[in-house]
């Protein structure tokens, strides 16, 4: 009998990886001491490609764009998880250690993403304090507001933007919460104490199941336990059948506005954090969407990040689906030791479409672009920057997820690594050494289509107390095919 038990136990251990017994081993769970080493040879790319360093010493960079003359611009966010505030900036990169400050912002970051259109730069101002905005920045530094008042003061912010050939400016608006219910995890993020009445706003009217979560009052307001439901402030739970009115702008949406301003229009809904936007083959809009976390009042386990071909007008599943699979479908999204997430919506607008690809759980799939001509290779494929996991805050992982650039054949959903750190295991350079990638957050081809620029946010450590970002560790990389420039 002991031999039998030992055999079964050992087999189960081999097969299951002992998820519940093993500690989290996220890529950011490492102690980092500046300065950051930067060595292009530590980054592996397919045969025939090479990696160069364009700029170092950036603080929380998030996006890259090119003007008509081919000059390179980068956004610095001005805010990082960990509640660290700096000055949001747009920089023109003049050399490896030389740049010109084009524009600066106020304490309302993060400035996410960047695009150049019709002679000006466009920035998504995350809006952690004052709400999200889309900004128009002229090359001589004049900053104008295209749209403001976006619901952006929660977990996720205003992202993008990207100009379409139809004359509209498309951008993503993330959700306030992980999975629809405000909870103690939002107090950990920092915003719930600033905005105790904040909650997600649906794009369309929604009828609620009445699902609610009860727990100790994270705000310590002397209320004892509080009950919170979907699309409601912390400590408020609406009864079953309640209808929450939709509004635009809303959370978890792809929206659009004219570059000179005007009314915001809804493009599609049901995303969680549509961070990266890019137009692919046949001018189809694609979105990289950060999937659910295993945290907070409604944890979801095992939900991969999603690459969507956006279906205009359609609902894409948040907060009750991951891709086209319902969160209460079997045991697919059950956190270990917990119950399956129960639906929040009494009626779903439709069955969500199937995503173009499923990426790693907690990979934080962010900025992306598509290879265009034959010069770079892989024409028509998406190149997605994976920021990397923020375990254990987002949930446990057995090893680092992300911290690389992947390419995706959007016709088949097949994902392949394109730029990774060398070593016996995957992970950021701060964990595995070598001086390679830390946290890729944007990938964009230059106007010629021959060089892929990768924005690397820099070192973001994760501790029991939260995120620990390190200033001046951001890098802009360039990947080219063939002979060095």
């Amino acid at each position: 009998v002991p031999a039998r038990i030992a055999a079964i136990a050992l087999l189960l251990a081999c097969c299951s990886g002992c998820f519940r017994l093993q500690p989290s081993a996220g890529g950011g769970q490492v102690r980092f001491t500046p300065p950051r080493a930067v060595h292009p040879e530590a980054v592996a790319v397919p045969s025939g490609y090479r990696v160069d360093v364009v700029a170092t010493g950036l603080t929380f960079p998030t996006g890259v764009a090119f003007d008509d003359a081919g000059r390179v611009y980068v956004t610095e966010a001005g805010y990082s998880y960990g509640e660290v505030w700096t000055t949001p900036r747009v920089l023109r990169i003049d050399g490896p250690s030389a740049h010109t400050v084009v524009a600066t912002g106020a304490r309302n970051g993060p400035w996410n993403g960047l695009d150049f259109h019709d002679g000006a730069l466009f920035v998504a101002e995350g809006g952690a304090l004052e709400g999200g905005r889309i900004l128009r920045v002229t090359l001589d530094g004049e900053v104008g507001i295209v749209v403001d008042g976006l619901p952006s003061q929660g977990d996720h912010h205003t992202n993008g933007p990207v100009a379409g050939r139809d004359g509209w400016l498309y951008f993503g608006q993330g959700t306030v919460t992980n999975a629809g219910i405000v909870g103690a995890d939002n107090a950990d993020f920092g915003w719930l104490r600033r905005q105790p009445r904040l909650h997600d706003v649906p794009c369309h009217d929604v009828a609620l199941t009445g699902e609610r979560v009860r727990g100790p009052d994270a705000l310590g307001a002397g209320r004892g336990a509080v009950e919170t439901g979907a699309f409601a402030p912390y400590g408020t739970a609406l009864p079953p059948g309640s209808v929450v009115r939709g509004a635009v702008p809303c959370n978890g949406a792809v929206l659009r506005v004219r570059p000179r301003g005007g009314a915001v229009e809804l493009v599609a809904s049901g995303f969680r954090n549509p961070f990266g936007l890019a137009f692919g083959p046949n001018d189809r809009l694609f979105v990289a969407d950060n999937g659910y976390d295993d945290r907070g009042s409604r944890p979801v386990h095992g939900a991969g990040d999603l690459l969507w071909a956006v279906h205009p007008g359609a609902w894409h599943g948040w907060p009750d689906f991951s891709g086209d699979r319902a969160l209460d479908d079997g045991d697919h999204f059950v956190p270990p030791g917990r119950a399956a997430p129960r639906p929040l919506l009494a009626r779903h607008p439709s069955r969500p479409p199937r995503p173009a690809a499923v990426l790693g759980v907690h990979a934080s799939a962010n900025g992306l672009d598509f290879a265009r001509g034959p010069d770079f290779g892989f024409a028509g494929q998406a190149f997605v920057a994976e920021f990397g996991d923020q375990a254990p805050a987002v949930g446990k992982v057995l090893g680092p997820v992300g911290f690389k650039v992947v390419r995706v054949d959007v016709t088949t959903g097949v994902v392949a690594d394109f730029a990774v750190n060398r070593g016996s295991a995957n992970g950021p350079a701060s964990r595995i050494g070598g001086g390679g990638l830390e946290r890729p957050i944007a990938a964009r081809f230059d106007p010629s289509g021959t060089a892929l620029y990768v924005v690397d946010f820099g070192v973001l450590g994760m501790t029991a107390a939260g995120a620990v970002p390190h200033r001046e560790t951001g890098v802009l990389w360039r990947i080219t095919r063939g002979v060095a420039r």
Binding site: R4, F19, G304, D331, V334, V358, V414
Partner: protein, 118 residues
Amino acid sequence: MTGRTAGALVVLASALVVASCGSARRSEPLVGAWRPSNAETAQGERVFMAHCHACHPGGETGLGPSLNDKPLPAFLVRLQIRNGLGAMPAFAPDELPDGDLQALVAYLRARRSSGRGG
């Protein structure tokens, strides 16, 4: 289960543990491009991407354990996929038909035996 069978399982499991010490990395930048050699592994690759890649990115460690360095017999792989184990969910025939499962197992075997990186 006889004592001899249990002993064999212990040996098998121990061998798996030892075999798991190799690198699970199969990244194209590290080991070169991998292409499906036949229609079955091509189908298996698509199935893997739809159902497995999220937790085992590229067959490496992620949310779940690595697969590329686990020489499990095909019957155990099928058993685990159909029934789930630990934190891994079960995949029923209505979402993963037998043909897809067979192709997936062929794909996993092909990737396991392809070049190792690091």
